[in-house]
Amino acid sequence: MENTFARYLFNRFFTLFLTVFIAATLIWIIPRLSPVNPIDAMLGRMASGGGTIENSGAIMEQLMERFGFNDPWYVQYWLYIRNTLTFDFGLSTSSFPTPVAQMIGDALPWTIGLMMVALIITFIIGNLLGALMVWEHTPRPWKAVIPAMMVFTSMPPILSGLLLMYIFSSTLPWFPLNGAYSIRVEPELSLSFIGSVIHHGVLPAMSIVVVTFGFWALGMRGLMITVQGEDYTVLAKAKGLKKRYILYKYMIRNAILPQITAFALKIGMLVAGQVLVERIFAYPGMGKLLYDAILTQDYPVIQGVSFVIILMTALAVFLVDLLYPLIDPRIRLGG
């Protein structure tokens, strides 16, 4: 048993390592296949911003050296992998000389905060609705409304985001259109700041919740159907236990396990989708950082953000793979 668990652990860890490694390599190779030289692009931007540049040849040479483009490819690759794994993504070219790692560090808490809140709300609402779809004591109107709500499942969060913005921000001025907190409050640990953050976070979080809860609901529905026919549920009913007690303690409790694995895979999709939500709400997280970097062709930032998001996804999958055997003893024993 120890052996199978160790093997399982090793396999998961190997996959995690390989994922991060392949992602890092892809991010390194792709820009190098491009016909456009990043230094050219940078100088072009300088020239368009500030007129002519004196002795641009020397600057170019200096920058080529500075960014290590004169080294042979294997040296460049080795340095890149070493730096990436230590979260040293170099300096931003658009807001030179801010380190990319620092920009990511500023943006990351916003993204993680928004994502976790959205994910938790989605998980609870989705699973509850999915259970209600199957439960025989669900009020009739709910039974009709919930399946219709599943239509949203198929949409990307940008569409729901646009609609929510239009309804609750443009038409009804209930929530702010963009940003993470009001410019009138100081970013400090005060009640008005926290209130402002929540006020600004409602719409972005909602636009993610609206399109992802259906995934949980449909999954939960399938699981509940199997649990519904199990002997223990029948026994619980025969014992005359309260309906709600059976729903929560007998049915949902037993059905929820596979949903927890799906949790991790969903994080991956959520992070990528959230990049777009942040872009339309101008939310100062990773998505906005990425979008701004695309606009200014800031390669180090693009690479850094992409890498960190892929790393987060891979780590989430890995962690749930680790947690799963702890939650479900059958996996631990079965190997």
Partner: protein, 317 residues
């Protein structure tokens, strides 16, 4: 529609049907053609609507109006007013954007483009998935290990982020190139699915039988196994079309899609970029959003319908 063998069925099963309504009993008597599924038909109708828009739009409307300055800028749709109080013109029934592009023409050209990217990417991903899934499941051993780990790894990497790096480095890109790039990220789930199915089928009676009869590997894979997988493949294909369109629209909304061809995502990008929300130009982002929703709902309905066709237990009376 009536079938003599089916008509007798309700009577024999009558004791179990006490709880059914009259309507449900009536439906029981009808010949049960699984393809006559309302969800499937609605889904296909919605997608056909998008294709029809692309075909008939090109015939009855001038698609040259997608170019900048082709029509008066910032006009509201017919029957509405823009912020300056100008009533929408009949020459641009769905309104225009700030650069003077006609919304109707943009939709006619853009909507089929999104569908094209989705279908092409999914087709390529599917073919790759079938090939790799069969190879892994049938060959086993080292090859299987490599393919399995490879798909495990690739399923974790969000396609959008790699594609952002690709597009940012290469600049402008064609629709077909974008489909090919997206295809590189949608082969994993069909591969896994087919591999798992092939593994279980490999030991089944009819495959053993075929092998004993001296059938070639290729015959076993494509004649004996593949037909059993068709329902899964269809479901997986449709799901991948959705994923591909979502990814493509995501790239376009970040401003990284094809620059020379109108796409729905690109229209939304322009709208957000020019603050269409604060200018109250709802038609600019609203119509492409509606079309995308129609597309996604259509695909979802097709998938739900196909599920019911291949799995009779899901069907309801």
């Amino acid at each position: 529609m009536s079938d003599p063998t089916n008509a007798a069925a309700p009577e024999t099963a009558a004791p179990d049907m006490a709880g059914l309504t009259k309507r449900q009993l009536k439906r029981m008597k009808r010949f049960d053609n699984p393809w006559n599924n309302p969800k499937l038909i609605w889904g296909i109708t919605l997608l056909m609507g998008i294709i029809a828009l692309g075909i008939f739009g090109r015939i009855f409307w001038d698609t040259d109006l997608v170019f900048t300055g082709a029509v008066l800028p910032s006009q509201a749709p017919v029957g509405f007013e823009n912020l300056r109080g100008q009533v929408g013109l009949a020459s641009s029934p769905l309104g225009t954007d700030v650069a003077g592009k006609d919304l109707l023409a943009l939709l006619i050209v853009g909507a089929p483009n999104s569908l094209y990217v989705g279908v092409l990417a999914s087709l390529i991903g599917m073919s790759l998935g079938i090939f790799l899934g069969f190879t892994a499941g049938y060959t086993g051993g080292r090859v299987d290990d490599v393919i399995r780990v490879g798909s495990d790894v690739m399923i974790t990497i969000p396609p959008l982020l790699i594609l952002v790096v690709v597009q940012a480095s290469f600049g402008d890109i064609t629709l077909t190139m974008m489909s090919l790039l997206i295809a590189a990220f949608v082969w994993q789930s069909p591969t896994r699915l087919i591999r798992a199915q092939v593994l279980s089928m490999r030991e089944s009676g009819y495959v053993q039988m075929a092998r004993l009869s001296g059938a070639s590997d290729r015959h076993i894979m494509f004649r004996e196994m593949l037909p059993n997988l068709v329902p899964y493949l269809f479901g997986s294909f449709i799901a991948n079309v959705t994923t591909s369109i979502v990814t493509a629209v995501g790239l376009e909304v970040l401003g990284l899609g094809p620059q020379r061809v109108p796409t729905l995502g690109r229209v939304i990008y322009d709208a957000i970029d020019s603050a269409a929300l604060t200018r109250d130009m709802w038609w600019w982002w609203g119509f492409p959003t509606i079309l995308l929703m129609v597309m996604f709902i259509g695909l979802l309905l097709i998938n739900l319908g196909l599920d019911e066709v291949s799995n009779p237990r899901l069907r309801r009376l």
